[in-house]
Symmetry: C2
Subunit: 414 residues, 2 copies
């Protein structure tokens, strides 16, 4: 048996006892894990230094090194994250629904852990603590596979978390870390049907695509967001300005940032110059269709590829459309089903947009940037699902659980 | 573009209009589809005759031919099935939950169709009408891929259903049927990520395994059930007898039938002979472990493979265990997570079994045969999910839907 299969089996075994733990034990473990991170800041920083040095020596991009690098504050915030998870309500054991059949059979749906959750992520060591914490809270065993650039940091964090968790009553083996940096280890992990109950890839489009296409275990696809803001002909100009600037510039590198502005022909001549001025002040490069370039003379022409692109950068595509129908048609063609917004004062157009746009989250007079577990009030987030099975949109603790039917009778037979 | 991809695209396009149809239109279409089946019995029987003849000439098993063969009554019951689906409540549009955030943002989860559902099934022509009906009711477009043995029957049924549905206002293209009998067409269908939202295989273990292992689109795994009944030391003997006989013999060929009997050592000497007598009267062959064979002298020895086997036949494995803990350990090792039952009068053992057995449905003093959408009161069943994502256990209409978040604000930004 390969090492990865062995690890997954250990996780499976641990998951059985984990599923029956009380909330008190899980919460005590989360506190112990948080405290252990704080007590071992020096050790984590030492190991993280090795990773950062190696990445710099290899000439990796600055953004990657920034995500990779830890400092005292970042480690403290990882510990704080674990304490926040501890403070949330335990979803396990909830009776989701229940009823009695005419024959007297009593049926209930109870919320239970998924079992073994695989998390595949890139060079963000904070995901290690975050994912372990979310899984412990929901009584799932976890198999972590982090990016090779963060291998020393992740190994140090996992060792510290495991020692603290197991010392506090979590069954040994519940947190597994794949230390092989070989890409084939990912392929093996996502092929462990019947052992691993779900894999969640967290990272860039390439990683997610590779996992979705090669997995034999169920996958929750997360992340890619080619989000649009449509500004309808009847709208409050100031509201439109505020929302478009926020959706594009407040944090351009994340999946719920807007990438394309669609604007109704009826107001484009008047409003588009104001929007362009604001966005350009924020350093946004605009790429326009022909009609918008007649209004904004000096912007780059948009090519077909622009409409498909998730820039994750201070770039925005602009298109003038003939009202809400053309806006919806554009979103249907080019959108990724993440977050889509309309700004309008017209009841019917708002209602139409909400009904007809097929996305995880549809916004009426609010920024797409709200698609986030914390903003929705979940107190935690595992990722944002852009597929339709099991979870759609921001995933909180509940999305790391499943149900089982409990049926009680008095000798009932068919 | 290949034919199958074209068909899936047509389904996707139709799905957008379908999603916005009122319940009244969908229900009228279901009635029209039912009536059309009844009006075209002769044509369906003629086409079905070709399939049955070909299967007989090819020497296919009698059980397959029985599943394949239609008659007046079976077609009427397909029509009746569509009318039953029509009578169910429409799940689409339900506000599943909703709340207002401290900042005034209003968030709601609305139930919406999945989009395009692929159904891959074997030589049961009734699944064609059933799957089409369930998808129309839930406003999903459907791509049907039936077994090659039923190709003429399925094509006739689909033609009749499409004509009726489109005539009643369902968008053209919403029901697609893959007429190629080539196996590669299945591979292509389950690779259409981004077009097909979910594939549900309905059939034997081989089909399901092939789909799960090769799919790039999300799959809901259904079906395989190696189910156990554990008879605890403290139990009502008559109840134990009734449940075990029902679970094994009432319909042995289905996934929720019991395959292994586990019996507590404390009562095995007394109760096992009574059970064996009853089961043998029903024609059940028993295969026992050593201890049970000391009690029931004349039964076949069970080998390791027996504990893993879903017989789907009048065969039952028997094992004497040392109480509820050993029963749970056996189920954990050999079960497929479908349906598991305990018969006990002891509160603590019942509670333990319910908590610790990891299965879609756990029964306390009731037969495993109840794991069924109709028995649970759903009024319909797409299949029984044995995996943990999206749906677990019997799947009704709700399981053919997903949610979208609708977020309304008043110019809210982050």
């Amino acid at each position: 048996m390969s090492d990865i299969r062995k690890q997954a089996y250990k996780a499976k075994e641990a998951s059985r006892n984990l599923a029956c733990l009380s909330t008190a034990v899980k919460d005590a473990a989360l506190e112990a894990m948080a405290a252990a991170l704080e007590e071992n800041i020096d050790q984590i920083l030492k190991e993280n230094g090795k990773d950062v040095e190696a990445a710099a020596a290899a000439g990796r991009p600055k953004a990657l090194i920034d995500r990779l690098m830890l400092n005292q504050e970042r480690i403290k915030s990882m510990a704080e994250g674990l304490r926040q998870i501890r403070a949330l309500a335990d979803p396990v054991g909830e009776i989701v629904s229940g009823w009695t059949r005419p024959n007297g059979l009593e049926i209930s749906q109870r919320r239970v852990p998924l079992g073994v959750v695989g998390i595949i992520y890139e060079a963000r060591p904070n995901v290690t603590a975050d994912a372990a914490g979310l899984c412990i809270k929901t009584a799932n065993a976890v198999v972590l596979k982090g990016g090779s650039e963060a291998i020393n940091s992740n190994q140090a964090i996992v060792d510290i978390l495991c020692k603290a968790a197991y010392g506090a009553g979590i069954p040994e083996g519940a947190i597994q870390f794949i230390s092989s940096t070989d890409r084939s280890s990912v392929i093996e992990l996502i092929g462990l049907n019947g052992i691993v109950d779900v894999v969640i890839p967290r990272g860039g489009a390439g990683l997610i695509k590779a996992v979705v296409e090669n997995a034999k275990v169920p996958v929750i696809e997360t992340g890619v967001g080619n989000c649009h803001v449509y500004i309808d002909g009847e709208c409050d100009f100031q509201m439109a300005l505020d929302i478009i600037v926020n959706a594009k510039t407040q944090r351009p590198g994340v999946c719920n940032a807007a990438e394309t502005l669609l604007i109704d022909r009826r107001i484009a001549g008047k409003l588009l110059p104001l929007i362009a001025e604001k966005l350009q002040k924020h350093g946004v490069e605009l790429r326009g269709d022909e009609e918008s370039r007649q209004i904004l003379k000096d912007i780059t022409p948009a090519v077909e590829e622009d409409w498909y692109t998730e820039y994750l950068d201070l770039i925005m595509a602009v298109k003038v459309v003939d009202g809400v129908d053309e806006a919806i048609a554009h979103i249907t063609k080019y959108g990724t089903g993440h977050s889509e917004a309309i700004v309008t004062a017209n009841y019917h157009n708002g209602r139409k947009f909400i009904r007809e746009v097929d996305a995880a989250a549809v916004y009426l007079n609010a920024s797409t940037r709200f698609t986030d577990g914390f903003e929705y009030g979940f107190g935690a987030e595992i990722g944002i699902s852009t597929q339709k099975l099991h979870a759609r949109g921001p995933m909180g603790l509940k999305e790391l659980t499943t149900i089982k039917y409990v049926v009680t009778g008095n000798g009932h037979v068919r």
